[in-house]
C-alpha cells in the first residue's frame, strides 16, 4: 500500500526554494524574447520602408 502511494508521487518533490532559484531563468527568458522580437520588429519596419508600395 505504502509502495503504491510512493509510486503515485514518484518524480515529484516539494521544494519551495526552487521558485526563487528559477527567477533568474524567468528574467533571462523574457529578456531574450523581447530582444528577438525587437530585432524582428526593426527588420520588419526596415523591409516595410524599403519595399512599401509607392
Amino acid at each position: 500500500m505504502l509502495d503504491s502511494i510512493k509510486n503515485m508521487f514518484s518524480g515529484m518533490n516539494f521544494e519551495p526554494v526552487r521558485f526563487v532559484q528559477m527567477l533568474d531563468k524567468m528574467g533571462i527568458g523574457m529578456l531574450v524574447i523581447f530582444i528577438i522580437i525587437g530585432v524582428i520588429i526593426l527588420s520588419t519596419l526596415l523591409i516595410n520602408k524599403i519595399f512599401s508600395k509607392k
Partner: protein
Amino acid sequence: MNILWENLARFEIGNVIMILIGCVLVYLAIKKEMEPTLLLPMGFGTILVNVPLADVITEHGALTTLYNAGIANELFPLLLFIGIGAMIDFGPLLTNPKLMLFGAAAQFGIFFTLSMASIFFGDNDAASIAIIGAADGPTSIAVANTLKSEYVGAITVAAYSYMALVPIIQPPVIKALTTKKERLIRMPYEQKDVSKLTRILFPIIITIVVSAIVPQATALIGFLMFGNLIRECGVLDSLSDTAQKVLANLITIFLGISVAFNMTAEKFLKPATLLIMFLGLIAFIVDTAGGVLFAKFLNLFLKKKINPMIGAAGISAFPMSGRIVHKMGLQEDPQNFLLMHSIGVNVSGQIASVIAGGIILNMFGA
C-alpha cells in the same frame, strides 16, 4: 468460454477510469466542440491503449510505430506547423509590427509557471509543463518530447483543453485587470497596403533571426515560416491549399491518436496529472495578465492610448484569443472594432510562443 472471462478479468480499475476519461474527451469533442480535431482522436486513442493486452501498444503495435515515427522525433508537430504557417495571414502584423511586443509580453505565463512547476518537478518536467503556457499544442508536444518528460500525455491534454477554454479563461482575467474606461479606448485601424515582397521576405527574415539567436527553435520556427512562405509566394497556391487542408488534417489525425500512446493508466492516473492541469491553468491566466499589464504599462508613456485588452491576444491560441478581445470590445462599445489589432497581436503570439519554446529548449535541452 474461459478465455473470455480471463480477458475480461484483466481489466483493472485504472483501465476502466482511463476508458471513461477517453469517453469524456470524445464527448467534449463532439458535444461541446472543444478542439474536436485533436480531442476526438486522442479520446479514442485513450480507449484503445487502455484495453488490457491491447496489441496497439506492444513493441511493434500500430500506435507504438506511429508514436516512434512521428512524436518521439517531433516530426508530426513540425509537419503540422507547415499547415498552420500556411493558414496564417501576417498582414495585420506587418501593418503595425510594434504589436509584436504584446506577443512577447504574453509569454510571461510560461516563465512564471516554470518557477512554479520547479517547486514540484525536476527541471525538464517543469520546463515541459511550463510550455503549456505557449497555448500552442504542437509546440507543447515538441518541447515535452524533446525534454523527454514523462508527462507528455497530461501536458497535451492540458494544452489543448485550455486552448478550447480560452473563451472562459480570458474574459474574467481581462475584466479584473482593466477599468471600463480602458476597455472603451478606441483604436482606429489605418489600412496600409503591404507589398508582396514584404510578405515574402517576412518569413525568411524571421527564420534567419530566430534561428541565429536561438538555434534550438530552428525546426519549430522554420517549419511554421516555410508554410507561410508557401502561402505568400504566389506560385504555389495548390501546395498552400494542400498544406492548409489535407496535410494539416492528416497530421492532426495521426498526432491525436499517437499522443494517446502516453495516456495509459500507469502514466496518467497520478496526482501529478491534477497538478499539471492546475499549473497549465496558471500559465494561461498569467499569460493573459502579462499581455494586459504590459499594454497598461505602455499606456503610461503613450499619447495615443492602446486598449489594454488587445495585450491578452498575445497568448497564442490563434484565432480564438483575437476574436474574444474583439467581442469584448464590442460588448463595451458596439462601435469599437479591435479585430485587426487583436488578430495582429494574436499572430505575433504564435511567433513568440515558438520562440519561447526554443528558449526553453536552449535552457534545458541536452
